[in-house]
Structures are given as C-alpha cells and as structure tokens.
Symmetry: C2
C-alpha cells in the first residue's frame, strides 16, 4: 500500500506545470514550441533550469556537448570509507517542431523537484539530474545525441554533419560554448552508478484507457528510420503527356500509401512518413525529385526488420514500374530495449507496489542509458495519448503521483545504501 499522498506534492505539481509553461516560451518561434539542439532557445531553457536546479540545492554544470547537469553530492561524512555511488535522473529538453510542453521537459522538472525533497537530508548517494540536450533528432537528423555522449556511445563522425543552414554539429557545439574535441569527457563510464530513472509522458493512450496516473515501462520498442529519394524527370505541367511522365511525387505518394497499408496489416506496428519535399516545387512543373522519411517501429525486432526490408523492396518496385531512380538511406536504427527488472521492481516496491506496467512505442534517452547502467522509466498519463503536438496535456494530480513515486524511490535508494 502506498502512503496517502502529502498535500505538498499537489502544490509542487502545480509549480512544475507553471515551470513547464515558462519553458514553453523558450522557443525558436513566437507562436509555437520548437527548441532544437543548441539553439538560442535551448540556451534560454538552460538559464531557467540552472536557476531551478540551484534553488533545489544542486550545483550546476553544462557538459561539453550541451547537457545541463545538476548535482546533489553525497555528504563526505556519510560516504567516508566507501566509494560514493551515483543515481541518475533526467530526460531531454529539446523538442520536435511545433511541440507540446511536457515531452521531455516534465521528466526534468519532476527530477529537480524530487531532488529538492532530499536536498536537506544526509546522503550516502549522489544524485545527478541530467537535462539532455538532444533526443528528437530534428536539427541533425540523428537522435539521442545528449544521452549517447553521457553513455559513451556518441558517434564522432556526426560532428561533421551539417544542419539545414549549413552549420556543422562541431560548429554548433563550439558556438554553444562546448568542445567537440572532448565529447568523451561527457561520459559516465567508469562511475559507480546505481541506475538511471526517467519520468516521461506516455505519449500513447494506454494509461488513460486503464485510468491509471502513472505506469512503469517494461521495454522500449525498436525503431528504424530511412530517407528515401525518388528521382524522375521535371517537365512542363501542360505539355508532357501523362503516358511519358516520370513524376517523382506520384511515386512517393504510392510509397506513403504502401507504408500505411503495411503497418495497418501488421499488429503492433506503426509506420510514418513525417517529411516530404519535392523539387523543383512549382505548381506548373512536374516534380523531378521527391524525398521523404520513413519511421517504422515494433516491439519485436525481427518483425520490424522484415517490414523495413519489405518497404525498401516496395520503393524499388514503384521506382522500377515508373522508370525512376530510387535511393534508400538508412538513417537510424535502435533495437528494442528492455528496462532493468530489478530497478523497476525496486521503484514499484518503494511506491507501495501495484504500479501498472506497459511498453513504450516511443524511443527515449533511456534506450541509450540502458547500455550504461540499470535503467527504468516511469510514464505519466497524458490527455488523449497526444504528444508531439501543442495539445499535449497532463493532470496536476498525475504529476504529483509521479513526484511521489520518484521521492519514494530516492528514500529507498538511500536506505539501501545505508544498509549496503
């Protein structure tokens, strides 16, 4: 049985929602929330979060790739004679374009608030709250940049990749005050880590359908992404007869529909074409080129891989039938990642037991962190399962419950450290 929730948590949850509102104003545009990797909007968010971390009793640093880290160190007296152990909390603060205000941000704010609850007690365990700088993969079309640097699995080849404005990642890191030559310094490898725990909105409808405020994640579905380019022939929209056209957009449209059809026919699969661009791109010119993205996910890696390979064949068949060229580029791949059963059970027990379990259809920094240390996630119910959308919403009571679970876990970690 969980203990009755303190009224304080409701007040703190209200403050967390107000903080999320303030972070929403840290955006690349005035009318929506768009905050991508190392932009001025992210620097604004760092300003607010640094202050809130300090208010919670933490010391604050920004690592060389741009993750903001607040630390609540173990007391020297408590840890005397022992190797101090460290627990990591956090989530990401970058967003998709035209985002909601809770995806990522909520987990960071709950972590800060939870840390504040233990800031004035004696501690054998250090707690780091990490606000990851990049999870969505918007600016450089590569996700998890922040957590990969922390986990020691960052691909240095990405540093030379340019964004749409021609700025390389290395230049972006330098402009933000970081150092692309020392990405390894971000890594926590070699530290004695208890684990990483991430609070995140569910981004799906399962908790809402079950009338549950929070739930523990069993595993994170794998995903694969590709960029597909169909190359035909541009031509005059009024004079090239239909029979001799090589219209790249029509081919891409066939591919979009084939993608939907496959996912609808395959239980548990989701597949999305989220971007499409054509060139030359005028209403009276036949598109000579069309580029689109593919994002395909499933809980089972082999089903996902079979679907992905099938869609590649489909793209090639469509191009062949229309005498077009097609270029298929794999852009990202992440296999399904189970969460740590022992850590997850400990959180459940600390919270009183009986928390519902669910799988995650979305990717998270926790996928990357699981390669570094025992990792677990706590999902918070969100309205309509909607995310990546300005309409994202959570209930203050659900946020209070998530906070209570995390604080209970922090106390349990401290208890176990004092026994161990």
């Amino acid at each position: 049985m969980s203990t009755p929730r303190s009224a304080d948590y409701d007040a703190i949850a209200d403050r967390i929602l107000a903080q999320a509102d303030r972070l929403a104003s840290c955006s690349e545009g005035p009318r929506d929330i768009t905050r991508t990797f190392l932009t001025p909007a992210m620097a604004d968010a760092h300003g607010l979060l640094s202050q809130w971390m300090r208010d919670a009793g933490m010391t604050v640093r920004c690592d060389v790739i741009g993750n903001l880290v607040g630390t609540l160190p173990a007391d020297a007296s408590c840890a005397a004679g022992q190797t101090p152990r460290r627990l990591l909390l956090g989530s990401h603060i970058d967003t998709v374009r035209q985002a909601g205000r809770y995806d990522g941000v909520l987990g960071v704010l709950v972590a800060i608030a939870a840390a504040a609850q233990i800031a004035r007690t004696a501690r054998r365990v250090s707690v780091d709250v990490i606000a990851f700088c990049e999870e969505e993969g918007v600016r450089y079309r590569a996700p998890f940049l922040g957590s990969r640097a922390i986990a020691g699995s960052f691909d240095l080849a990405l540093l030379s990749r340019a964004d749409d404005g021609g700025v390389t990642m290395a230049e972006a890191i330098r402009s933000f005050g970081g150092d692309p030559d020392r990405i390894d310094d971000c890594s926590y490898r070699g530290e004695t880590l208890i684990g990483y725990v991430e609070v995140h909105i569910e981004q799906g409808p399962i908790l809402e359908l079950a009338s549950e405020p929070v739930g523990l994640v069993t595993s994170i579905a794998g995903q694969r992404r590709a960029s597909i380019r169909f190359a035909g022939a541009a031509g005059h929209a009024g004079t090239v007869p239909m029979a001799v056209r090589r219209d790249a957009l029509v081919a891409a449209a066939e591919f979009v529909l084939a993608t939907e059809e496959l996912a609808r026919e395959t239980t548990g699969m989701v597949a999305t074409v989220g971007t499409i661009e054509v060139a030359p791109g005028a209403s009276n010119v036949i598109p000579g080129e069309a580029r689109c993205s593919l994002d395909l996910r499933h809980q089972h890696d082999e089903i996902r891989d079979r679907g992905f390979a099938g869609l590649r064949e489909t793209a090639e068949r469509i191009a062949g039938e229309r005498s077009l060229g097609v270029t298929w580029t794999d852009t990202d791949r992440a296999d399904a990642v189970p969460m740590d059963a022992e850590l997850t059970a400990m959180i459940d027990a600390a919270a009183g037991g009986g928390l519902p379990r669910l799988a995650s259809g979305a990717g998270h920094d926790a996928m990357v962190m699981a390669s570094l240390c025992p990792t677990s996630m706590l999902f918070v119910r969100c309205a309509g399962g909607i995310s990546h959308n300005p309409a994202e919403a959570v209930l203050a009571g659900d946020v209070a419950r998530a906070l209570e679970v995390v604080v209970s876990m922090l106390h349990r970690v401290e208890e176990e450290a004092s026994i161990g």
Copy 2:
C-alpha cells in the same frame, strides 16, 4: 514558296543562342536558372536586354510593373496623315525554379533580332518588343502579371499578396523602381494595334515527332489551378496506433494518385501536383497538415471543368473517410484561347505557306494578349519536348527558321500598311 534562307539568319541564330546562355547567368542561385518576378536576377536580365535592344536600334523603357519594352518607332514622314499603327512582339523573361534557358527568353531574343532586321528601313508601322516580367506565377502564385498589366486586365487586389518572404507585390514593384499605384499606365488599350505575335519553344513533343522546325499555334488549352490543404492531427510516430491516426500526408498521397488516374483515363488531359508541404515536418511526427497544388489542363473547357470538379469531390471524399478537414482554394483559371485566324494565316503566307499547325498545352502571355488584339504564336521545336528543366534545348537551324518567319511577317505588315 519561301525564299531560300539567308546565311545571315544562321549567324544571327548562333548569336541568339549565345545571348540565351548569357541570360541564363542572371539567376537567383549560382547553380541553376531561377529568375522570378522583380528579383535582382531580373534586374540583371534587364541590363543585358536593354543593351541588346539599343544595339538593335530601339528605344528602351521599363513600364511601372516591370515589363521591359523596346520600341522601333514608325518614321514620322511615312506615317504623316495616318494614325500610326503598332505591332507587338515578345515573350516573358521570368522562369520557373531550376528552369531551362529558352522558355520565354527565346521569343524575346528572336523578336529583338527580327526588329534589328528592319531597323534601317523606312517604316509606317511601329514595332514594340515586350519582355514580360511575369508569366510563370512562381513568386506570387499568380501568373501572367506582366501581360495582364499590358492588356489592361491586371487584378489590383493582387498587389497586397505577400511572397514567401512576406514581401507584398506592391512593395516588390516599388523596390524595382515601379509604381503599384499606376499599373493602368502599362496598358495598351486604346492604341491602334495590328496584333501581338509570340515566338516560344513548343515545350512538347509534337514538332519533333513531325520533324518540323516551327509551327503555328491554333489555340491554347485552358487550365485551372487549386491549392488544397488537408488538416488532420499531428502526433507521435511511435505511440499513436495506426487505427486512430488522422495523417494529413496519407490523404494528400491518395489525392496525388487520384489526380494521376483521372488524367490518364481522360484523353488530352494533363494534371499535375507540383508542390507538397507537410507540417510539422519531422521524421518522427505524424503530419497534421499537408498542402499541395493542382494544375489541370484540357483543350476543351467543359472537360477540364468536369475533371476539376471531380477532383474536388475526390479530395472531400478522401478527407471524409479519414476524418480530416480539407480546404480547396481555386487559385487560377484560364479558359482555352483560340489564336487569331487571320493574323495566323498572314504569318503563314508571309513565310511561304505550309507551316504546320498545333495546339498549345502550356499557357502563354498570348492567352492574355488575345483579349487586347489579334494574337498569334509561332512554336519552335525543342529537344524531347522537354521544358521547365535545365535540359531544355533547341537547334540553331530551327531558331534561324523562326527568325526568318518573323522577319517575313514584319515585311508583310509593312507592305500591307503601305497599301492600306
């Protein structure tokens, strides 16, 4: 019978092709030809054309919307006691994005070269060569701006329309040195006009298939354009089950394929979706919005209108089936326009008779000019029927033949004026 072609015309044709090469460098980008309404690239083109017009013996002015006009005035002595009459030649010098080097430009250069051939002879008829500033409709999504100003049919409401950079048409005209408050000054209404004759590449395969260098146009197919917006719901690509998605891009893809299917099934119809954009536009976000264009053409207005209305119903059906919203905006409409039979017969006779006749699938300034005065067009064979494409190509011999036809016509006009 036409007289054997003078070797001079071949030399002049070579010069015309070299001039087209030079104009190709007047572009908004260094790697392709893109020269839209009133850009610095168009100012560069004006610089070259003004010099070539002066070299041909013409006086040069830029009217208040940005058409460049070279005039070869009638001799005061020849015209004494008569109302001087005026013949108009020309074509446009704006381009689509990533254009070829002859669409529009060729007609202006042939007109200048033809005028040069009669510059030193006594003239009863004034000849104006007009380089229209806007025909393609790229910058303001409204075509024929230059010829509509000349014909006195310019829609002043367009002046407040903004381009993608937020610059209104009125501002663009002022920046170019024009005057949006005096567009009426461009009009030739009230003048005694013999007619308007436009040389243009065919942009289709008919002359090439018939092994004919040039041909006279019988009529220009009508066209209708629309902008279509599908509105669904953005959402996370990993967590929203396929069954509850409201993906705007998938709806647009269905529409693209339905458009192709209709045109393939309807003899003589061409239909094109040349632009498509989605929002938010990230690989891991379900598109909540998709906008695309439609361009539909047919020689018979009633078939075209029936197809256009059918596609609108199709868009609404697709949106209904997917619980999306759809907004359909008619953006342009031009009915089929027959060329002037008498003027066309005169050109044919002047050229020796027997020129092939063909219809135009593309729109031209001649469609607009036909409301002002008798209008005719001479098409020049182009390689593969390819246009709106960097691969546009013409044969120097075909250009020489077009020049010869126009010069013959100028002599015939002068002869008829001296009789009349």
